[in-house]
Amino acid sequence: MPHTIEKQRHIIDFTLASLLRRRGKNGALFTVYTLIVFILASVMFFTYALKEEAAQVLKGAPEIVVQRSLQGRYAPIPLEYAAKIRGIRGVMAVRPRLWGYYYDSVFLANYTIMTAESIPLPPGSIAIGHGISRMRRAYEGDTISFTGVDGKARNFTIAKILPQESQLLSADLILMNEDEYREFSGLPPGLASDLTLKVRNPKELTTIAEKIVKALPDSRPIIRNEILRTYDALFSWRGGLLIIIMSAAVLAFVIFAWDKASGLSAEEKKEIGILKAVGWETSDILFMKFWEGMTVSLTSFLAGTILAYGHIFFTSAALFAPVLKGWSVLYPVFRLTPFINPGQIATLFFLTVVPYTVTTIIPSWRAATIDPDSVLRS
């Protein structure tokens, strides 16, 4: 056993010395390889952590949200609908939600305005999300002005800033009293933005949603499971920008593999020929090539994955931030909880380290089985 280990160590010594002789080429290979793993691992860490966080915080979302469409568009829902829905067996409570958007033409930002009975606000006061506070440099006790539906500016006192840690949910929120919201937004009494439902038995959600559509054909129920699935499917590999990142990375690996599998350079063939001529076995050469692939791919994999972890969880995905911000003026600044899926890391390992190592060995096996004399003469 010690002899086998010592033999392998000698092969590794030789392999690394050989790799270091071509320092420039192999250094570039290591850098590109690490960069590809870094990008893939960053995307993986970011999307998985975001999905997990969404699943954890959105489990308290309304069981059913009922919207109404009119003229092919979303429209405010009459409160009489609430009474009709309350009559459906299994529905425990129906509550109207009042919410809408506000475009701030000075800061060119969009806010979400909501009413919140559970957060008591004195008249003329509002609560704002941390994102708005940061952008407008407005803090508790300050007065802030918004233009209402009638074109008149209204002043509100900031009674509360929503917690910084909840920016991923509330960065753009403005909470105000119902009366003030109706007056500000122009939503007439008797109408709500949508309705939220509490249901006795969660297993009946789908049945109740079907009954709502049957009773009120212009309504559109969205059940909690659908909300959760929305964020589970967000940033899916099959669509959007991620498919471009994925294709670029896969293409890079195909080029790597092609370069390796398409054959060895004359210099490498000559090296194998000399090694065989001085007494190396075919198995020794295959071991040498195995270690060559392994040293490059394993260190690149580990370095890329570690860098990706730092990028996502220590710098809050600093490189992805410009992409996520898009054209938004107002955006949340958030630190993700490091939820990690071991299965994804294993997949990344098998998609990067294994193919590279295999494609390094195969052409060498072909060269190692040829007579050294003919290799050296060719």
Partner: protein
């Protein structure tokens, strides 16, 4: 006497593996630390009856992704004929194509 290449390689790989393990431990500890914050956020969702994350604020259908609509004319949903970068980044909600509501 110079150190053997194999020793250097195993030291480097060992150091990287150790660092990766430390990061895994960090992730575990951070998850425990963040648990109360996540509970607080979940409570905010419950009391304000929120439906969505505030990831993008440039278009209504990416601000409230779960409420995005496939049925309206001009298709306001991610990956439609897109005006905003966020729309090409996020996938449409799966329930848009398998809703309980009949498609008009």
């Amino acid at each position: 006497m110079t150190t053997r290449y194999s020793t250097r390689f195993f030291t480097l790989t060992g150091a990287l593996l150790l660092l990766a393990t430390l990061l895994l431990i960090h992730a575990g500890r951070q998850r425990v630390t963040d648990r109360p914050l996540l509970r607080k956020s979940a409570e905010l969702v419950r009391i304000l009856e929120l439906t969505d994350l505030c990831l993008f604020t440039e278009a209504s259908y990416t601000r409230h992704l779960a409420l995005a609509d496939l049925r309206t004319p001009f298709q306001e949903y991610p990956l439609a004929l897109e005006h905003f970068p966020s729309g090409s980044l996020a996938s449409p909600p799966p329930h848009l194509t398998e809703s309980h509501a009949p498609h008009h």
